[in-house]
Symmetry: C2
Subunit: 289 residues, 2 copies
Amino acid sequence: MLLLDGKKLADELKLEIKQSVDALVAAGKPAPHLAAILVGNDGGSLTYVGHKVKACEQVGFQSTLLHFDENITEEFLLNEVKKLNENPSIHGFIVQLPLPKHIDADKVLMSVDPAKDVDGFHPVNVGKVTLGLPAFVSATPLGITKILERYGIETSGKHCVVIGRSNIVGRPMSILMSGQSKTGNATVTVCHSRTKNLAEVTRQADIIIAALGKPEFLTADMVKDGAVVIDVGTTRVTDPTTKAGWRLKGDVKFDEVSQKCAAITPVPGGVGPMTVVSLLLNTLQAAQE
Amino acid sequence: MLLLDGKKLADELKLEIKQSVDALVAAGKPAPHLAAILVGNDGGSLTYVGHKVKACEQVGFQSTLLHFDENITEEFLLNEVKKLNENPSIHGFIVQLPLPKHIDADKVLMSVDPAKDVDGFHPVNVGKVTLGLPAFVSATPLGITKILERYGIETSGKHCVVIGRSNIVGRPMSILMSGQSKTGNATVTVCHSRTKNLAEVTRQADIIIAALGKPEFLTADMVKDGAVVIDVGTTRVTDPTTKAGWRLKGDVKFDEVSQKCAAITPVPGGVGPMTVVSLLLNTLQAAQE
């Protein structure tokens, strides 16, 4: 069984990004500059944004964090987005989700300049990805394709089953895996909450991408021998034995599935670290254009 | 076996559209106005645009055909698109494909105002459809969902196999069928030229959407008893017994598959007529907004 080590791969990619940044700076150009807008004090969001800022530092990016009170108006936020759109020193920026309920997240995401939308959430980027055109691919799907690519996992002609149809993982993964690219050309089945006989479907899969957000959902009996398993789940489950009182659980019952499959991503240390590094890759691309 | 009569359904929908147009006009508003840009003299394109103009007349729409020489420049065409974008009397317009090779079709489609993009080809509309947001759904996929809806074909929890991953049919159909809508919620498998053991996959399907453009490709042995079969193929094959010297063939071997399935669209008279009427539905929607 091959462990698809996202942490190690992310570290390698960060070194490569650092080299590209050094080359940009040596050529007299500014280092890539990523800005993040954070509204309110959601614990998860604070952690995620913190990881992103730290990752920027590691690769030599400039970073700016705009942290606003949860009571700001939608109008205020739209104006901040506008300022980032118009600021030539910012190459890319993200608006950390979720936003407070009184703010229309779709409206805010629509207002981001697609050329700076390094999260790949704007409909223009989603549409281009769907059409197979060059665009910012959102971070988690991009991270998964990098894992497949760097570990040389063959996808062409394989049967890939994606569990989940969310806009940030399941949907784009199903499009990318069935598209015409070097980590595409798979026959792809999209499964979700309405799917009947899910285990019958997953047992046919050469590649399983589990992105439904249910801890340890995918068990060994649902996986055929020699399958490749990508675990996108990151649910915090209570664990009094840890310092934090919780730990991350994936959507895959790792102990039993790992005995059976050809390759698998662990949680933590699989898809998660690749998500942050993918945001860096998109920002580097934005700065190079 | 239920014949899914797209011609009859299209006629019914045209009557309903006509009633909506009459209501608009009675309320003192202008009738919906569809414009079409046609470049060159491709035989198929002339026929398709002719059908669209005729359909406009049938439902009381205004229509404008801009027919340009195949030697026009890209710049000229982009300027014509700009004029239509800015013309308040035009509610929606289409640029008939294919365009001559010296013109960048993606660039032209990107220049169409998404609010007038009744073909649903602009990345913003494609992206919104992918994200499950309200948008113009392109005509053939919209026509197929109307057939499923009006004939009361249950899709939720069914296994739908889409053969083909083109941007105008296969890709959007796979997204719509697996999305959260009344003609969605299916488990969807996308098959294409790289798919291995295609017949094994299609034999599992409750619903098959054949959109690969190979006449009579889908044979009875590839279909399970009681499946619903949607035939999107429209290939002209030589036939000296007809006046035109050719006739349309679908992707499904109708004579044998129709014996086995629960419901099927014929070719011609199935998806084709629904495609034209879907363009009218989108234009009506554009005029009502």
